[in-house]
């Protein structure tokens, strides 16, 4: 029931964002509000079986603030650095690529999704495949360092820094 209401509320909020400045009732017209509420309820009823109830911990507002902090501090500078890195490699053509396996030891799909997206947008790495049983990630690394190749699930400190800890803090 809580999952149903949360989905309906989120859908309604998105509809309101897409139809601002359409009428006199503080930014929206009455027709838009009514049809938005009806569509939000219909969509929530359709996807009720897809969104299971165990994802309710993401409704905690503390996690949203943590996610915002994560995007502003460790993520955005890493993204800028990634672009300088790619620009350097495009201009000089100096690459040393390879596919390495890391095991971040995350338990949930949401955390793994966030980690994989972060890895793709940060310097020199791109997530290629995932082992769905053990939650290991296979990462394409554009500049392989020799000292990271000693252990078999490679040490993720060289590849993605502190991101697995952040993913665990925000999503689990």
């Amino acid at each position: 029931m809580i999952a149903f209401l949360a989905t309906a509320f989120g859908t309604f909020l998105l509809y309101l964002l897409l139809t601002t400045a359409s009428g006199p009732l503080f930014l929206w017209s009455k027709e838009e509000l009514i049809i938005g509420a009806i569509f939000a309820l219909i969509v929530a009823a359709i996807v009720r079986k897809i969104f299971p109830a165990e994802n309710l911990r993401l409704l905690n507002p503390k996690r949203w603030f943590l996610l915002l902090a994560y995007i502003i501090w460790p993520f955005f500078p890493a993204m800028a650095k990634a672009n300088i890195d790619v620009a350097y490699r495009v201009i000089t053509g100096r690459i040393n690529p390879g596919i390495v396996k890391i095991s971040p030891k995350l338990k949930t799909d949401a955390g793994l999704t966030m980690l994989a997206n972060s890895i793709t947008l940060t310097p020199g790495t791109l997530s290629v495949d995932v082992d769905e049983e053990t939650n290991d990630l296979y990462v394409h690394w554009i500049n392989v360092k020799e000292e990271a190749l000693e252990k078999m699930p490679r040490d993720y400190k060289y590849i993605c820094g502190e991101f697995p800890d952040w993913a665990r803090r925000v999503m689990e």
Partner: protein
Amino acid sequence: MILDIITYICIGIGCLLNLLAAIGLHRFPDVYTRLHAGTKCTTFGSILLIAAVVIQSVSVWVAEGLSSPQSVLTLHAVIALVVILLTNPTSAHAIGRAAHRSGIKPARAVVDDLEKEKP
């Protein structure tokens, strides 16, 4: 005035990154390295170019009041940016996985754990 300078800086770097992505698609030797160029550079270039649009629209919006069309332009540009940020890494992941499962080896690779464990 300062806002105009920030806008021009954002536009300059954003255009440069998009051009680098286009050149990188030709300079790199195989699919995976091309994905690096095509994903990272266009995502950050989109952030900067849409930030330029948002800065200009917000300055008009503040001057004209809440119900001007520029407010709608700002909100929708931000929604388009969020959509790009969510979908771009996901499709890069899908392309890389499809390429490896259809049997394309990474060129000049020093190590390939995925090939060793799941041939």
